[in-house]
Amino acid sequence: MIEIASIVLLCMGAFFYFSGTVGLLRFPDVYSRLHALAKADNLGLGCIVLGLALQAESLAVALKLLLIWPLALAASAGISYAIARRADALGIRPWRREDT
């Protein structure tokens, strides 16, 4: 039962990573690519560590895996704002619907 839940979570994680990459390839400018990569990849990582934590042999091992996620969230938040700010400072204008 736990194994099935773990497999489902791991596959969901892989799906979110995949959609992050799809967003990176499909979205028209750096700002929207940032949305896709930061948000979708983090959810992917969250699903993966949760799925693996379910299989852990002890509580401490499970918590260690789960500890990775908030660190990655903080990293993505800080780095994506830094990139967005840099893009804005470089004068990169966001893509708008009427441009096409």
């Binding site: 499909r26 979205f27 700002y31 940032l34 949305h35 948000k39 908030p70 938040a77 704002y81 967005a84």
Partner: protein, 156 residues
């Protein structure tokens, strides 16, 4: 002061227990690590300044993590539907947060909330990019701001 030290000591010991995967033989080294961490934490951040609400911080973390999950699921669906699902725009908003730390937390946290991305912060002017201008982003920004006000005790 002693209560704050005790709280931190327990937190660091818990962290060591997690990092050592609960191995009983590691506590000799663990005691040293907890002591050093406690010393560093007192040097860098004096306890009992009372400026930050711990309950507010935990409430914010719960809210932040839940909304980052929502944001990830939402952007995944938009990515699979492709470019035609996008209607990006730049918004300018006025922040009412007073302290610098609160504003920095705000503009960084926005990047993981559904549909929003902090782009620039100048004084209390916030510029953010939104994936879909039809989403009620302004309401969400105000809700996040209210949560951060609670952490930094900045109730208007």
């Amino acid at each position: 002061m002693t209560a704050a030290l005790l709280r931190r000591g327990i937190l660091f010991a818990l962290l060591w227990w997690i990092l050592s995967e609960g191995r009983a033989g590691s506590w000799g080294l663990g005691a040293i690590a907890v002591a050093v961490a406690l010393w560093a934490s007192v040097r860098l951040l004096l306890p009992a300044s009372g400026r930050i609400s711990v309950a507010g911080l935990f409430a914010f973390m719960g809210y932040f993590i839940w909304n980052s999950v929502r944001g990830g699921a939402q952007v995944a669906l938009i990515a699979l539907r492709g470019r035609q699902a996008l209607q990006p725009d730049m918004l300018e908003m006025q922040l009412s947060l007073r302290s610098g730390a609160a504003r920095i937390l705000m503009v960084n946290a926005l990047g993981l909330m559904p549909g929003s991305l902090g782009v620039r912060l100048e004084g209390d002017r916030l510029r953010l990019h939104v994936l879909d201008a039809r989403m009620p982003i302004a309401v969400a920004v105000r809700a996040l701001e209210a949560r951060i006000e609670v952490i930094f005790r900045e109730q208007p």
